[in-house]
Symmetry: C2
Subunit: 267 residues, 2 copies
């Protein structure tokens, strides 16, 4: 086709996950679930110990069937990555080989950079207990180390897949970092806040709150600051005006009852 | 004690994890394992469904016993966080309440900021299927949303704990982002590399590799660049010099055998 560059390999949606000799169907299923949690769908298996397909994987995947249904099988790690360009291997052990070891966050950035220019990425994970062999690692350009408590760093297979897939996902996530949902309301205007403040100040004056008069400006500033910091909605300002009014009403009732008590008549 | 400020609360090693009505002992155990993976040790339970202690938790914790052995029980989410200062709640559902919703990375930064000035942090997680109730959320100042594939965002309890604890841990991890382990060797000097390059260039000249003479400088630069990019060690340079020599030896043997063939004498 005109303009088609056949030396360029089609970009997929995200890194391919390759599980080498996974021992349990459950772990394949939970790994598939973790992948789909993070938007990854291309799962490859090298010699799964209990054969394939394995019913237990589907049970454990909690609905991530589309990942399991599309699984591809390979005879070796090398065969499983033969069509991929950037291969990273997750390995906890120190290896006697000269290969770059990247932290997971740095590796995720490298994966994103590759994907951004249409290049494919593969992530190799070894068997649950033993990890990848040096032979498996022949296929990887870089090793990934996951920063964890050095005194207790053992992750299960699905958790390792989850952390790696999550780092990939979070780099491109566009969720606003902090939002304040306000339902049907909106942030109060400063005028609305001043209305509440005026009512509150008058009520406090009446209640003789500001006894130490020279301190009043400081005390009043501190009280206002709490409500200013809270970032109130218009609805909340109205609720609080009602609440202050109710407190004043209670004070009125209490004063009435005190007067009646002093006069000897119980209400 | 002189200088002791009793209004300051003792800082612990990291956020406290509070599981509200966890349904299965296994999930408590795998959550404890995920916590210890990320250096967290303070686990609190609110009304665990199967009672406490629960043997299955210890089995699932894969050795994170010190977290389980120190678990504290509480009658409510409010009681469990009463001595803590900054409370975040992990909740997937949208709530009809005006509370800041932070992404997990933003929440982790806020937790680190609090911890840096000696303030305590609590993280609330709800029951496996139903999540935290609005009553439980009364105790939280902020909600955490974990960025995940919106089409498949359901995590199990331990995976949610793992991601939150991991974000906390990774912010303070000092692992160098990329290292190249070199065993007993060291990076080659440029002089050592030029030794290899000189040998290689001479061998290629002899082998008539640079037939199109005007292209030689470009071809040779490209070949050198590959080895320069690889960041070779001194040991690797020596290995490669041996390898190039072996190739030249093979060429010699092949030429010998070709000459012998032409002369009609098989070796």
């Amino acid at each position: 086709m005109a303009g088609t560059d056949t030396t360029r390999i089609q970009r997929t949606g995200g890194p391919t996950i390759i599980l080498v000799e996974p021992q349990l169907g459950e772990n394949i299923g939970t790994a598939a679930r973790a992948m789909l949690n993070c938007g990854l769908t291309d799962l490859r298996l090298v010699r799964p110990a209990k054969g394939w397909p394995n019913e237990r994987a589907w049970t454990a995947a909690s609905g991530a069937d589309r990942v399991l249904d599309a699984v591809k099988l390979y005879p070796s790690a090398q065969a499983a990555v033969a069509d991929l360009q950037h291969i990273f291997a997750a390995t906890a052990r120190d290896r006697d080989m000269v290969k770059p070891v990247l932290t997971l966050p740095a590796a995720a950035r490298a994966m994103r950079q590759a994907a951004a220019v249409g290049e494919s990425v593969g992530l190799l994970f070894g068997p649950e207990r033993t990890g990848l062999t040096n032979d498996d690692l022949m296929a990887a350009q870089s090793l990934i180390t996951i920063p964890l408590n050095p005194a207790f760093a053992s992750l299960n297979l699905a958790q390792a897949v989850l952390l790696v897939a999550y780092e990939w996902f979070r780099l491109a996530d566009g969720t606003p970092e902090a939002v304040l949902p306000q339902g049907d309301s909106r942030p109060a205007t400063l005028g609305e806040l001043e209305g509440l403040f005026g009512q509150l100040e008058a009520g406090l004056e009446e209640g003789a709150f500001f006894r130490a008069t020279p301190m009043k400006p400081v005390m009043w500033r501190n009280i206002r600051n709490v409500l200013l910091r809270a970032g109130m909605t218009e609805q909340e300002v109205r609720t609080w005006r009602g609440a202050v009014k109710a407190l004043e009403g209670k004070r009125g009732l209490r004063m009435k009852s005190e007067i009646e008590e002093r006069l000897g008549r119980k209400p």
